[in-house]
């Protein structure tokens, strides 16, 4: 069950239905008191800034000259169509999307599938070591994999050279930088893998036994039982991966030192946003970029939620 289903199903297990009256009112007040940190934070750190940032999209606000602010109508929105860096950023982000999203879905499934294989010996040993890399700070992972991917001295190219393959200069090539970034990110699979693994462990054994009686082999069981039953987890990983992708920042920023090199291949959306809003302090247009990002993320999230009815298994039948 995912976070989202949980939110939807909340009323099913609603609390204290039976006891109404003044006690309930009093308890309600206690409840409001307890959730007040979030209510206050949501108002001041989410709602108000959202409104302010939306208002800023109609201004030319620059933090270095706050008094020179003026209302410029839809100019920022028009600028979206002429901003060549934005076009490059969208191109880089969507190109990377095509590679990164399938991998972020398949990698946890393959690794969890390995951990879940009945015949595997030393399951705990493997789980611990595969999960451990999740603890490696991202900056360390970038430095380590950056060294591994070095065109001359990196181990990956040295390994390829054994087979006579002349490896590319990964992080400096507009084509190979994307697989390079993927490799740097592989170690972060920890939670997605563990989550998928637990999902697989929770598949009722009887289903497999019944399938075996009917003569189903490993592939058939995986395709018809395991995968359908973990679709809620795949769904959850997919939503988080898509959201994460549009906020992709630390790895490309450190790899390219914020330049977007090679070419504009690592000028991802969030890097363009950072440069506009914080390096050039162009906050009015920066806010517009943020809202465009929000719109794109919302469209993708809604598409995924809408598509869920066709492929995500929900226990207990429809709805």
């Amino acid at each position: 069950m995912t976070v989202f289903d949980e939110a939807r199903d909340l009323d099913v297990r609603g609390e204290r239905r039976s006891e109404r009256g003044s006690l309930e009112k009093q308890m309600g007040r206690w409840g409001l008191l307890f959730i007040s940190p979030w209510l206050i934070g949501f108002f001041f750190l989410t709602l108000l800034p959202m409104a302010a940032s939306f208002a800023m999209t109609f201004t030319n606000f620059n933090v270095t000259q706050p008094d020179a602010i003026s209302f410029i109508g839809l100019d920022n929105y028009r600028r979206l169509f002429t901003d060549s860096d934005l076009r490059a950023a969208l191109e880089a982000t969507f190109k990377f999307f095509l590679l990164a999203i399938p991998i972020s879905i398949i990698q946890p499934i393959l690794m969890a599938g390995l951990l879940n294989a009945g015949a595997l010996r030393g399951r705990r040993f493997f789980t611990t070591l595969f999960y451990m890399t999740y603890m490696v700070p991202v900056v360390s992972a970038i430095l380590i994999w950056g060294g591994m991917l070095n065109g001359q001295t990196g181990w990956i190219n040295r390994f390829l050279a054994i087979f006579g393959v002349n490896g590319p200069d990964w992080l400096k090539s507009t084509t190979w930088v994307y697989p390079g970034l993927i490799l740097i990110g592989l170690w972060g699979v920890g939670n997605a893998m563990l989550f998928t693994f637990i999902g697989m462990r929770n598949v009722p054994h009887e289903l497999y036994e019944a399938a075996e009686v009917d003569g189903a082999g490993y592939l058939r069981k995986t395709w018809n039982i395991t995968l359908p039953l973990i679709t809620p987890i795949i769904f959850y990983n997919l939503v988080l991966s898509v959201i994460g992708l549009f906020q992709y920042f630390t790895i490309p920023y450190i790899v390219s030192r914020g330049t977007g090199e090679p070419g504009n291949a690592t000028l991802f959306y969030n890097i363009h946003f950072y440069r506009t809003a914080f390096r050039f302090q162009d906050m009015g247009y920066g806010a517009t970029l943020a809202w465009l990002l929000f719109a794109i993320v919302m469209i993708f999230t809604l598409l995924i939620f809408w598509s869920a009815r066709y492929w995500v298994y929900s226990p207990g039948g429809s709805e």
């Binding site: 959730i35 940190p37 991202v138 070095n150 189903a216």
Partner: protein, 365 residues
């Protein structure tokens, strides 16, 4: 509405299973499968962990050693002989063996060598071109890279900054998320479901949308260049932690609350003496996940602490160092190791709690 169907009924014509075809017994097939799968696992694991070997070996090399083709930090061996420094080579001996000998007197077609293990013995004359010999390599670790990296990145300062930022953040998020989760788990709040749905949906809200006005407010408050923007927002709970804690609180039997209420306890007392004593594992899980977050958070420290290197956490601090020392890969790798050693060792010491966070997120049975 269509759901993915769980097909447990495969066509019955396929009942002849492969096991009857192969001559192996079930037992030996199981053993074979175990060996094959475990070997695949080991192969993946080697790929997974080999970058650590790269990091450690590179961190112990000198720039010169980086140029030679050896994997380990090795240097061409030399010995002192007769007040001169002689280079040691791998010399093929007439009997077919290889011996490490020091070149004493080079010649075009034959050279004189001395045995480094027996310097008093007569020099050995060897027929052949010494230039075609491979130099002998000996292990030569550059341990001084570590103290150098330690000083260059000001490691103790970065760790202190990261720990303090993380610590205050943990206090904030554990405290606020516990209260909010308790509220959602136990009390009849008006519009509770809607509020909870809003809370959960903030997960999909990109932080860029609120970032600019928040930055302006913090900058007006004079908080830019301090830790406050990295700490204070965590005192207002967040969706993941509230969800996790609430899931856990729901598993604490309500009868226990009710018994405490009958004894005259108020809701705060119930939280303190009934819920919390049973919830330490999940609170520790939440704290650890915040620690990891603080150790990795890059974007906000970059924005708020750009001008204050003395206050930067490890993520941004090491990055600045990386810009300056890009020509010194050995120091970069030594720094990577310094930066990962604390979280990784902590993980091995407290694995149980690290992975619990995930288990609690409640994949239903």
């Amino acid at each position: 509405m269509t759901n993915a169907q769980v097909e447990t009924h495969a066509p019955s014509s396929e009942v002849t299973s492969s096991s009857t075809k192969s001559g192996l017994s079930k037992r030996s097939r199981d053993i074979l499968a175990g060996v094959v799968i475990t070997l695949i696992g080991l192969a993946v694991l080697i790929f997974w962990l080999i970058p650590f070997a790269y990091m450690v070996t590179t961190s112990l090399k000198s720039l010169e050693q980086m140029q030679n083709p050896r994997i380990l930090p090795e240097s061409p061996a030399t010995i002192e002989f007769d007040g001169k420094e002689l280079e040691v080579y791998e010399v093929p001996m007439p009997d077919g063996s290889m011996q490490e000998l020091a070149l004493f007197k080079p010649g075009r077609e034959s050279s004189l060598f001395v045995d480094p293990n027996n310097l008093s013995a007569e020099p050995i004359e060897w027929e052949g071109r010494w230039r075609q010999l491979d130099p002998a390599y000996h292990l030569d670790f550059q341990w001084q890279n570590y103290p150098e990296a330690w000083k260059a990145v000001e490691f103790p300062l970065l760790v202190r900054n990261t720990f303090l930022i993380a610590l205050f953040g943990i206090i904030g998020t554990a405290l606020s998320s516990t209260l909010v989760a308790y509220g959602f788990a136990r009390f009849p709040i008006p519009y509770k479901n809607t509020l909870f749905l809003i809370l959960i949906s903030t997960i999909v809200l990109p932080r860029q949308v609120t970032l600019i006005p928040t930055y302006i407010i913090f900058s007006r408050l004079g908080w830019v260049g301090t830790w406050l923007p990295l700490i204070v927002p965590h005192f207002f709970a967040n969706a993941y932690n509230v969800f996790l804690l609430r899931q856990y609180f729901l598993t604490v039997p309500k009868e226990m609350d009710e018994a405490a209420y009958i004894d005259g306890a108020n809701p705060l007392r119930v939280l303190w003496s009934v819920i919390l004593p049973q919830s330490w594992p999940v609170i520790i899980a939440v704290s650890i996940s915040h620690l990891i977050f603080a150790w990795n958070d890059y974007f906000e420290p970059l924005i708020y602490l750009r001008a204050r290197p003395d206050l930067q956490p490890i993520s941004v601090g090491i990055q600045e160092f990386n810009f300056l020392y890009s020509t010194r890969p050995e120091l970069l790798q030594a720094t990577s190791l310094l930066a990962l050693i604390i979280p990784v060792v902590a993980f091995f010491l407290a694995q149980k709690y690290f992975m619990q966070g995930i288990v609690f997120t409640g994949v239903d049975k």
